[in-house]
């Protein structure tokens, strides 16, 4: 453990550098304009809410900002009864 730590401790600076480069490329992109991903999330949820009664605590939103692409994941639980209702119409 201690030996492993000794090796691991070398070079935390490159990690810091990489994290900063990724973070700042995002922060610079959204500077002066509202956050695109937040806007997407809000509008997607609004569209879903038009057709389905969405409970806000049943919506999971995760975001992973990567270097080249970001992943915005929105999981909305749709009750089965809605599907049945739509089929009946």
């Amino acid at each position: 453990m201690s030996l492993l730590n000794l090796f691991r401790r070398r070079g935390s600076a490159p990690v810091a550098r990489e994290r900063l480069q990724i973070l700042l490329s995002h922060e610079r992109a959204v500077r002066g304009q509202s956050d695109l991903l937040t806007k997407l999330k809000d509008e997607i949820l609004a569209v879903v809410a038009k057709h389905v009664n969405v409970e806000h605590d049943q919506v999971q939103v995760t975001l992973d900002r990567g270097e080249k692409v970001s992943l915005l994941e929105i999981n909305v639980e749709v009750p089965n009864s809605v599907g049945a209702l739509a089929a009946a119409q």
Binding site: R10, G11, S12, R17, G32
Partner: protein
């Protein structure tokens, strides 16, 4: 022609006030007139670092509100007579600063001094944006550490959008001053190195101030580090930075406190 400089960083505790005092004193020591202005309303400290805390009568807010005239509020340094301090108010709130008031005070200072150095408060709110508002040049004080670099980047964005120069389509001249640098740790890959910081922020370097106990000693004594111990590593770094502000082209070095055998033998004086 006089120049207005803002010393800023976003993050607190990186060395804005130390740098303002040290560079102000270094410029004044060359015979040019310098005013250092504390914009940290409510949390003033430049007076303490300059050793003038017992001489404060009027402050920036008093001048902005017209309660006192500028010459009444300026405190002339006892060591260098070309150096003056305009302290911040300790009791008022930063909302007492108005854009018009600050503009008027800066204009008056420009007429009296070769250099006007504004010590910005931390953060990105009113005090910080007013400190940078009328600047020609910005010194962005950055520690080789992730949160400081991120905040510096944010401040650079504000300098490019919220300053008077930016609104007129001009540019504030921007420099990075790296402080609290530990060359040995950077060499071991434990600390962001100079190249890392400059690559990320893409701005020219004004100087590298090494981590040093001389900085704390100077502030304990109420003396800018460039005056307190002119031969110390941080003093040399700040003096070089001041020379670069004046347009001199000096090779970039990282001053070191490491003493040779003879220096150790004969003590500090030999350095």
């Amino acid at each position: 022609m006089s120049k207005v400089i803002v010393v800023t960083s976003g993050k607190g505790g990186v060395g804005k006030t130390t740098s303002t005092a040290a560079i102000g004193a270094a410029l004044a020591a060359t015979g040019q007139t310098v005013a250092v202005v504390d914009f940290d309303v409510g949390l003033r400290n430049l007076d303490l670092v300059m050793g003038a805390e017992r001489r404060v009568v009027y402050d920036l807010i008093n001048v902005v509100q017209g309660v006192a005239k500028l010459p009444q509020a300026l405190i002339r340094d006892k060591r260098i007579d070309t150096l003056s301090l305009l302290p911040a108010s300790q009791t008022r709130d930063k909302d007492a600063l108005t854009e018009e008031g600050v503009a008027r005070v800066i204009k008056e200072l420009r007429a009296k001094f070769d250099w006007v150095i504004c010590d910005s408060p931390a953060g990105i709110e009113r005090g910080a944006t007013l400190a940078m508002r009328y600047a020609d040049t910005a010194i962005i004080v950055t520690n080789p550490e992730v949160s400081s670099v991120r905040d510096s980047d944010r401040i650079i964005g504000l300098l490019d959008s919220k300053t008077e120069k930016a609104e007129k389509g001009e540019r504030v001249e921007k420099h990075i001053l790296i402080t609290r640098y530990d060359a040995a740790r950077a060499a071991r890959g434990e600390m962001l190195n100079i190249k890392d910081v400059l690559d990320i922020l893409s701005l020219p370097l004004l100087g590298i101030v090494p981590e040093s106990e001389d900085v704390l000693r100077a502030s304990n004594l109420g003396s800018p580090v460039t005056l307190n111990d002119p031969a110390s590593a941080p003093a040399r770094a700040y003096r070089d930075a001041a020379s670069r502000l004046k347009g001199q082209d000096l090779p970039m070095t990282i001053p070191s406190d490491r003493k040779g055998f003879l220096d150790k033998l004969f003590g500090r004086r030999a350095a």
